[in-house]
Amino acid sequence: MSGANKSEKRQVRQQEGSPTHAASREEVTAISTDQVAHVARLARIELTPDEIEHYTGHLGRVLEHARELEDLDLADVPPLAHPYPLRNVFRDDVPSTPVDRDDVLEQAPAASSGQFEVPPVLGEEV
């Protein structure tokens, strides 16, 4: 995994190194099949090799378009994460009736002893 990360970073530097040179931009695809496979693992989505090809094309088209941002000088513009400036939102600390546990567990794929049930997390039966 660390090897994949290194090659990704190299590719970014390559892109950033020639932000306005159209010809060299096209030589570097916006995202590779290896990167899509890596991202699918991070996102926990099982994909076949054909599907990895498909999403490489889909993501590539969107990221290709995103390169228009490279030409923008935004060094002096701070990022905006939330449109309306609300800070330190508190509510009164009063007891209320939570959603009923049984109602929630009734909708779960598997539950036992009042808890969600999942396959082994560590790969071994405990």
Partner: protein, 511 residues
Amino acid sequence: MSTALAIAADIRSGARRAADVLDDFLGRIETHDGDVHAFNTVTAEQARAAAAAIDALVDEGRDPGPLAGVPVAFKDNLCTRGVATTCSSRMLEGWQPPYDATVVQAMTAAGAVMIGKTNLDEFAMGSSTEHSAFGPTRNPYDLGRVPGGSSGGSAAAVAAGFAPLALGSDTGGSIRQPASLCGIVGIKPTYGRVSRYGLVAFASSFDQIGPFATDVADAALALGVISGHDPADSTSIPAAVPDFAAALGRGVDGLRVGVVSEMTGSGRNRAANGGSPPGDAAGDVLDGIDADVTERVLEAADALADAGATVGRVSVPAVTYGLTAYYLIAPAEASSNLARYDGTRYGLRVDGADVEEMNRLTRRAGFGDEVKARIMLGTFALSAGYYDAYYGKAQRVRMLTRRDFDAAYADFDVLLSPTSPCVAFRFGERADPMTMYRCDTCTIPSNLSGDPAMSVPFGTGADDLPVGVQVMAPALGEETMLTVAAALERAAPPLPGPPLAGVAGSTGART
């Protein structure tokens, strides 16, 4: 077809029974929804019980509320206790939420009767409803065309006369664009005006719930019912809810209306001036906006000028980068929000040898193509080595958009633009992702800024299909926005209703 206001007035006065009103709408659904497919679920039995309860209140001399007995359709990403809430995804098929969304509670408390849950692009990701796992919704004006999206089911339901009111959600245009394509009114309120509690999250810093209606007065009525601070949503704004209905008759005399140059570049003013209109500093315009759509916007501006408004052109340069910024930020937020669908707590599970395999196989089977693509796009945009280049930069564009709008609102009270760059398109016509994403090019900027915006029908474009004009206003400026929308509605050419038997025109034609 009666408006929500007329229905509620009749039911409150005893002139009509809620049960009879409901039967009329259920009858239209029965007749036409096989063709339109606006609904994932029709809650007929529950609705009959609710209507009976409204009638009982009237019989007792009690007031059921401003939406007494008005049937309402909810987008199927709004949680409804004990009623399937699918987000049009295999992932949540059959899931029954343990609570009601705040807006569902508010509508019900005002006397509205839930008639069903409407179709959408899976998890609200799309502009046509073609990405629904349960098949697309068809536009009542032309069953061979999309209703827009992602709230296409809600828009089609109102346009087809299946319900006088519907609620949808708007993350990048998902209320306004389908309203435009279906010839009805749709409002995206200020971010935080309406509680998002119980709305299944897509991109939390953009998502906002709003109403669909056949006219501006009904939309204002519904907006008033769902607006207000909610302790359950920490992003909801602690501001008083104005009397939106009072804004409708104020008139536009003296209001300053700015036509956004970047969104009307194909219009006659531009051509007449041999290029950029005077005062158009940027010169850049958004591509792909149909000339007849732009014409309708310019006619709408003329109509407002005739009604006494001061109309000018205004440049909001950052909007030309809105689409790109949005399609990095929204997938990034989605990749985080949709991590919860891992086969553990609700919905689908595909068994695996260990928990991680179970997660991977569940997400493979449960998510459709577009949802997978956006999750991976967002995961990529947030991943080490790319965060600054993509997500970080997009957030700075978002600030730029905020600043450009603030500058525009220093000179203008409201802004005008197309809602959608085109009229309703045919199924499959926009299969390429970037082509589909461009549907949102005029609506996204208001999601980036968080400001309110709405679509009002104003004439027709290609193939006599409805065109919507977008009215934008500064944060918490819904009243001025509604004043202008009401004036546009009064000036709009009559719109023939969709060619479904028993469904009347949706606006203009009624008067």
